[in-house]
Symmetry: C2
């Protein structure tokens, strides 16, 4: 049975109110008593019950995080960042994987309500609008990441947003290929990269358009973000007549697959084919001969967590949308 306020109070010969004051660093406590209480608390290894505090405050110092799937490489650093920020502010955090499923989302949203979380960071899932509305009804602050909330989603409450400008990252990357003299540039894309104005695909197309290059449909391969697809997309592209002299690759596992195909064919980078890749793990092809860009996913988590904490502190602040740029290497 862990020590509670009462135990500390009895042992220190004071009331529980006094102990509470000392622990909350409230004024109006004599130095003598303060020291005595602190000593007893340490001695008994006392930890205030966060559960009791949460009930009393009608709000738990907990941040909810609703992402698609922690196994998606895109999210790992983001999760770590949220955790780091949360704990430095003495919040803990609840992680939920929605699998982009509106029903799961709905269940988890109700969990957030039941846990009285102080706020939630989420990746909006199409079709889950009614769940988000319940969050808003419960006055739970929301920060969305990677996608915006459909305009109709969350009216009663302002939601901050953090997105990455994938498009300009990729544009920079592909422009480097073009400046290196490449004219026929294949693209290996994960189909979950999306297609909005900030999407990776948009950046690829924009770079080509900037230089008046045609966007040949056969140069674009879209599929699951797996090594297997990377392998077969690379093979398909390299079999084209004429074959592309450079490849843009949009995700870590795709790059792994592309490399496997290059190995199988004894093709060297960049002599036989140049490669520019986006890497969620920020470790792709740091070799001088290739171009790589990491994604600032940790920063995204940091910004999201800080926005959420700011909104928890002041619900009336104007909602913000932050667009993070990537530094291509």
């Amino acid at each position: 049975m862990p020590a509670k306020l009462e135990d500390v109070a009895r042992r220190a010969g004071v009331s529980i109110a006094t102990v509470s004051r000392v622990l909350a660093d409230k004024p109006y406590v004599s130095e003598r008593v303060r020291e005595r209480v602190l000593a007893v608390a340490a001695e008994l290894n006392y930890r205030p019950s966060r559960v009791a505090r949460s009930l009393r405050a009608r709000r738990a110092r907990v941040i909810g995080l609703l992402i698609s799937d922690i196994r998606d490489l895109f999210f790992t650093s983001l999760v770590r960042a949220v955790e780091d920020i949360a704990y430095t502010h003495r919040y803990s955090f609840l992680l939920c994987n929605t699998d982009e499923d509106p029903d799961k989302t709905s269940v988890y949203v109700d969990l957030m309500r039941a846990e009285h979380v102080a706020g939630v960071i989420l990746v909006p899932v199409p079709g889950a609008e009614s769940a988000y509305r319940r969050l808003a009804d419960a006055r739970i602050p929301v920060v969305t990441v990677e996608r915006r909330l459909p305009a109709a989603g969350l009216e009663p409450v302002a939601a901050d947003t953090v997105v990455l400008d994938h498009a300009s990252t990729v544009e920079t990357l592909v422009l480097q290929l073009i400046e290196a003299g490449h004219r026929r540039i294949g693209a290996v894309l994960a189909h979950d990269e999306g297609s909005g104005p900030y999407s990776r695909q948009a950046g690829y197309l924009r770079a080509l358009a900037d230089h008046g290059l045609p966007a040949a449909p056969e140069l674009i391969c879209t599929g699951p973000a797996t090594a297997a697809f990377g392998r077969c997309a690379a093979a398909k592209l390299l079999d084209l007549q004429p074959a592309p002299t450079a490849l843009y690759v949009g995700a870590h596992l795709l790059t792994l697959g592309v490399l496997q195909t290059l190995v199988a064919r004894r093709l060297a980078i960049p002599d036989d084919v140049a490669v520019a890749a986006v890497d969620e793990l920020d470790c792709s092809l740091e070799e001088p001969e290739s171009f790589g860009a990491g994604l600032p996913t940790y920063a995204m988590g940091e910004v999201a967590a800080n926005l959420l904490l700011a909104r928890i502190a002041d619900a009336s602040r104007p909602p913000q949308e932050v667009v993070l740029q990537t530094q291509a290497t």
Copy 2:
């Protein structure tokens, strides 16, 4: 202000006790009342407060998870598994990254106590024994993963353990190389693979010993689990005279690096050099020509979570140690 028991009770014209009974599916409630209460609860969008329940029960339906770092590829699937199991049993879960730091571990252990978690799954950190003792003192069940608890650690309470038999995975993998005729097999290892009897390094050495092959020190490269190290280790090994005809690679990012070096040198698998790799992401080299083995990290999380739930339900059951085998492909 979310609806509470009292709101439902008033609206349904019954007492809060009755509502509580209905919601807990307790007997002794007339069908008429039950239906009415359920209808009102749905109408008000009522969710019982998990905070209040936790306080009342003096135990929260929460599982704590203390891992080294979610960014380590080894842990992502494990986390997902724990989450899946937890939520199917109506538990939520708290994730903490210890960075293998005893001080952080200590802080997080106190957080677990303060949150009244029902149990915790953890990767033991050397030097954090006193923190683990506090968990035991608080009668919080523990399941360790990937490592055992130092014998002295947690006496008052039994701790279940789940580990992977990395050694036999690697042994199988390397034996395949040997059976394919290779005699000089280089090894690229992450230094955090550990060195116990279940370690990957042990498996490599065992496979060589099984066939009376010498374990030449220059054939073993150990370093950080990064693509950069994989690149340079592969380069170093391939520069040996005579060069190894096969490579064993111990981690996903190392494999990425090795592939980069092979690409740079226009070396094909397996004609120029054979590769057998362990991959935390279970997607390494599914090509027929190479040998790869995934790590059953999801299964590890599942087993750990189920052991924990079983121990939460019955603290007196005998502690178990589960050693998971990997299927090499």
